[in-house]
Symmetry: C2
Subunit: 164 residues, 2 copies
DNA sequence: TATTGTTATACTCTATAACTATA
DNA sequence: TATAGTTATAGAGTATAACAATA
């Protein structure tokens, strides 16, 4: 694996702010700010992990949802992931054009989505890449249980209604 | 204050997934996914809080940085917040056009930024809005100390080098 | 040679509105 | 009347490349 930051093992991982600047940071103690910056870092890491599979994080996630819910519709996925119907169209089209998912009309107005054998293999690969990306960051959760940490984040997410 | 979700006090705050869908969620246990969704929710909340001040979250944060670091440059702010130099230009221009910050050439190539009296008042207002937005979400951190939670997020953010 | 500010531009993501067809 | 899928489009946000002036 590529070691970009030279910070793979137990060496002190630059916990100081010297890498960023010498300014006073008035938002470092803000939950929203810390959440956003941490999220962007993890997204960038996962994104580069997924380049091998030629999938974006969103495409990969949609694929996993179809894989876990055979027969679901685009609208279902949109509600689960917070993606608008209009924006689901190119996502599903991309996965379908690569023969990772299939669309079968069931309703006249809705399509049942399913993963193909190739899509099933790709789902496993995606989980592998997510495991690999996640592993490094889980080490930062010193003391706190990952499951508890994630539960807090999900509770945070559900504490406000989705805007749709 | 406006109560959008009907979930201000101690009523059970919809901790189930019924509000979202009935699908199996294959990424609910993923740290990166939970971080991103939580971050988006907090960003949306802060964004609507800041509409009264006619500031975006990024503009508000830049203003706070200038306020906390009189004499800093655009490049300084960009490094601190992870914003590219090119994208700093319209941000500072917007704040300057509203007489919230001033640009004083010091170097021939760099400008010293400072907040005006109006900018100082606006900074206080921004902190107030951030407090208000943050208050609700801090309640979700049952058990875990906010400072510890934020420290983990910042450690997470610093565990990968900024791409710049 | 490296850095600051700047312009122009492209690309991705997301949001809205409207339309068709189905339930 | 509400929902599913679709199209087109607009608006953020972010990215790169190039340039001039300066250190």
């Amino acid at each position: 694996m590529l070691n970009v930051s030279g910070n793979e093992d137990n060496a002190p991982p630059m916990n100081d702010a010297s890498k960023f600047s010498s300014l006073v940071d008035p938002v470092a103690g803000r939950l929203g700010y810390a959440l956003r910056r941490a999220s962007l870092v993890m997204m960038a890491d996962l994104s580069s992990e997924l380049t091998e599979l030629a999938l974006s994080p969103v495409e990969a996630t949609v694929l996993l949802v179809v894989n876990a819910n055979p027969g679901c519709t685009q609208a279902d996925i949109g509600r689960l992931l917070g993606i608008k119907r209009a924006n689901m169209v190119p996502l599903i089209a991309a996965l379908a054009s690569r023969d990772l998912v299939t669309k079968a009309p069931v309703d006249g107005r809705s399509h049942a989505l399913e993963v193909t054998p190739a899509g099933m293999e790709m789902s496993s690969a995606v989980h592998g890449k997510m495991d690999e990306s996640e592993r490094h960051f889980l080490d930062c959760l010193s003391g706190v249980e990952p499951a508890e940490f994630i539960d807090i984040l999900l509770r945070l997410m559900r504490s406000r209604a989705p805007r749709d």
